[in-house]
Symmetry: D2
Subunit: 297 residues, 4 copies
Amino acid sequence: MGDEKWTDAVGFSMDHSYRLVISCPDRVGIVAGVSRYIAESGGWLSEASYHSDRETGWFYMRNEILADSLDISLEEFRGGFADLAAQYGMQWQLRDSAERRRLVLLASKASHCLADILHRWHSGELPCEISGVISNHEQLRGMVEWHGIPYHRVEMDVTDKSAAFAQIDRIIDSCGGEVIVLARFMQIIPEQMCQRYYGKMLNIHHSFLPSFVGARPYQRAYERGVKLIGATCHYVTEVLDQGPILEQDVVRVSHRHSVDDMIRLGRDVEQKVLARGLRAHLEDRVMVHGNKTIVFD
Amino acid sequence: MGDEKWTDAVGFSMDHSYRLVISCPDRVGIVAGVSRYIAESGGWLSEASYHSDRETGWFYMRNEILADSLDISLEEFRGGFADLAAQYGMQWQLRDSAERRRLVLLASKASHCLADILHRWHSGELPCEISGVISNHEQLRGMVEWHGIPYHRVEMDVTDKSAAFAQIDRIIDSCGGEVIVLARFMQIIPEQMCQRYYGKMLNIHHSFLPSFVGARPYQRAYERGVKLIGATCHYVTEVLDQGPILEQDVVRVSHRHSVDDMIRLGRDVEQKVLARGLRAHLEDRVMVHGNKTIVFD
Amino acid sequence: MGDEKWTDAVGFSMDHSYRLVISCPDRVGIVAGVSRYIAESGGWLSEASYHSDRETGWFYMRNEILADSLDISLEEFRGGFADLAAQYGMQWQLRDSAERRRLVLLASKASHCLADILHRWHSGELPCEISGVISNHEQLRGMVEWHGIPYHRVEMDVTDKSAAFAQIDRIIDSCGGEVIVLARFMQIIPEQMCQRYYGKMLNIHHSFLPSFVGARPYQRAYERGVKLIGATCHYVTEVLDQGPILEQDVVRVSHRHSVDDMIRLGRDVEQKVLARGLRAHLEDRVMVHGNKTIVFD
Amino acid sequence: MGDEKWTDAVGFSMDHSYRLVISCPDRVGIVAGVSRYIAESGGWLSEASYHSDRETGWFYMRNEILADSLDISLEEFRGGFADLAAQYGMQWQLRDSAERRRLVLLASKASHCLADILHRWHSGELPCEISGVISNHEQLRGMVEWHGIPYHRVEMDVTDKSAAFAQIDRIIDSCGGEVIVLARFMQIIPEQMCQRYYGKMLNIHHSFLPSFVGARPYQRAYERGVKLIGATCHYVTEVLDQGPILEQDVVRVSHRHSVDDMIRLGRDVEQKVLARGLRAHLEDRVMVHGNKTIVFD
């Protein structure tokens, strides 16, 4: 089985695909209906994932269809699928992998998460554009501008941050920001901004949530004497550090580690967790399900 | 999305399912064809996984169908599916989750893997029967018999092991062994027995393969000064420690660890890796693909 | 360097040692004083570990001395050391590795942690005696008694558990229990018992503390949608799940895992974490430092 | 114990220390002799680690002494210690943490390891100077020069690389290179250069050694069907990928991962493993012991 090598078996480009992401009440026949529609359009599946949530009776599906394989245009495919979707009560989206979304990053003084994302983007690993970086400090300007990305400094009046956030909102608009990443931004996002970017704004929190919600998690981890520290990538919601989690990881620590050591070791985990969460988001692998996520990896 | 809780959404038992596992040359329409057949039989998918191997142009699929949901009998379902399968040139199997396969374990003196599997089976975690344990030593008899499992001692003539292996073969037959697990058996399996149980005989090797193929891997890991040691669960083939890998894991070691420490730490990894590999096998999650595996977890 | 192999270099048995564990206010000369005393007694160090806590100005030390190497008896060594210890204001203990402490295990119905500890003990991996198992259920009797260990059933009156705990206390006494392990005992230990066995009673909690203190941690982990679940081995104190942590670990989960899957996967982590914590405790590697631990591994 | 908080307990700066690293034949009294000498000089130990290698009868020791605490100058301390060292037949070195060694990096086209090291250095995490980057390609010049570091392009004649390596040698000399890091340099280092920088030249190999020595390890990992891929940081010796290992780590892969995915996932492991190995080296935590390392972390 599989011994006959069909080099270049498929004949279609693997680099260009359409991602069809669906959720609806579960019932018999959804996979059959969707996959028949795809097949009748000539669609070659390079990847397909399903999840049937037993508790809520809800169904989730992600199909990756090779773009070249379709007999019809993307718009025709979309139009035809809308009828099927209506029939099953589906929420759905169809995205062209060639469309690179515009990312806006918010940062403060800490450079590690920002530097990591910029490097991944620069070396072609992250499928997005980066249309701007916003910060309440100057420190990171040089690094950002070297990458050819506009750097926006926003002054924060600590007694009233509303003007600063209004300005941030305008900058995001002017950048055409479709995905917002808080790369250790260290400011609490106003409620209305959380709502506006619901499911599109990712944060990296420097603890293994739900442990150490809020400020100074490494200090508190040190005081509690935990043997692992971690980081969490989650969507931002109105309730601090309570949004749907995309990704988490940990690293081992011991009595030998000071708070400063934890901060240093934690940086590596934060980078990795944010990069993984962001990549999954950009590849349309994440579906929000109440306060949880389905991540089709 | 998903906020309306449909408690007991499905209405069918989640505990009884049919597992349909398929491989065939990849082409447009396979998922559509298979899922339509399932849907037309009333089949409710509790799980579905696909893999399209780009290099070989081969397609792999595993469907878990809730048994209660089918309108027709398993045999009718099987019969109908055979037609479809022929059309697509499929290799396939359909298994009832209620059918518990008969496991035969081969062991030597080391108890840890055997004890772990027996405990998991005893506490209902492993979906199989254990119809016998075969060993070339007496040490483990008490533990095995306490679990109500027959213990077969086979004397090994070190100058000619063929009689012993012929006896082992007969015992496996008399036990009706369908899955064979080498739980640190420490003997090289004769070629013909490897062939007979191809894809049904699992071994746990005490290194991270392909490092340290063969004897005394911990000693050699110690001598090489590696910083991680590992274990590998693989199907047994004629070439020692070269069969398709189901599962691997590692544990960190340092200069402080002697060979004995590595042996001790390694036992925990061996247990875990074997248990995971075996569980995947028993749940029909593993498909062999040349000398590699697809594991639908 | 190190090329000349001195096989059996030491000439003393590595299997028998004295463990000298010390804590005191940090100052210059402690290591010099202690190591001079050991050297003058002929003591060959097979292991030595130090920790200087910067925040509290406290010093921690563990020396493992090969028993055969000492020129004087253990009691003479102890006597001489007492003078030095007084001079530095040391808290200290000196233990013979040949003295195997008596362990008493408390369990409920879940067998996995108990089975794991019994197996490790049975195969000689755990340096202790097991003098009894106490449970409020009957289920585990067979397994325990097969190992030749007395099983004590204690009835729990759910409206008033004080009689049960008084009985448990008496059984521990009659067993000569020196180390108490709550192997998924699932009962809150009375305050006075916590105090009595302070630093000698280990619990395994089935979450990554401080996440999910208290009941049903897997259910809550499932509801929060975390991507890792964990377990924590800690000393029992009066405040539930807040005692000094000896060891923690995690395992990755995803949206595919139900609460039952988490319970199953979590069992393996619980076993491993408890075994590691217990082993460290029995080897006198753990020192309590406020609400934290120093673990000299 | 430890409840009395001695904030700023020590009174000496924790940021400046002397690292005394020793190896010698093991015997009774080494720790006593060394620690007495340190104490008599007023030396406050912030860290101390020992290893007694049972197999070779060799002893390894690392002491970190707070610089401010010494009553005498570093040179006086060094002079006095030389006498003691001679007495015990010690190989030793004493290094001031304030002395930042000069690092020279060799790279090819892949940017990830270089970018990671440059960022760590730039943000003050790596205790060294970077005095130059040498590459046989132009690609990384911009990134390096933005950091204010000289970039040296060396043309490689593939038919005879000796001229290129002679030039590399001269550049290292002119940079005063004390530590050489092959950050995915992808060229085999000539024997004489291996010898010249023995114990000072670190490589990152993109596999879990000893698996997949040599070229194209991800391709071979893919073909073997391993379930984990890894990276190894080791000292370079004349025998390819066989030098003493400082650090290793792995990441999980599955049948879903192509070679390109493995290359991408592997990059993160390579970065992390190289950074950890390099940091340990720069903090004088690594001692070479035959073909193995002692890493005092």
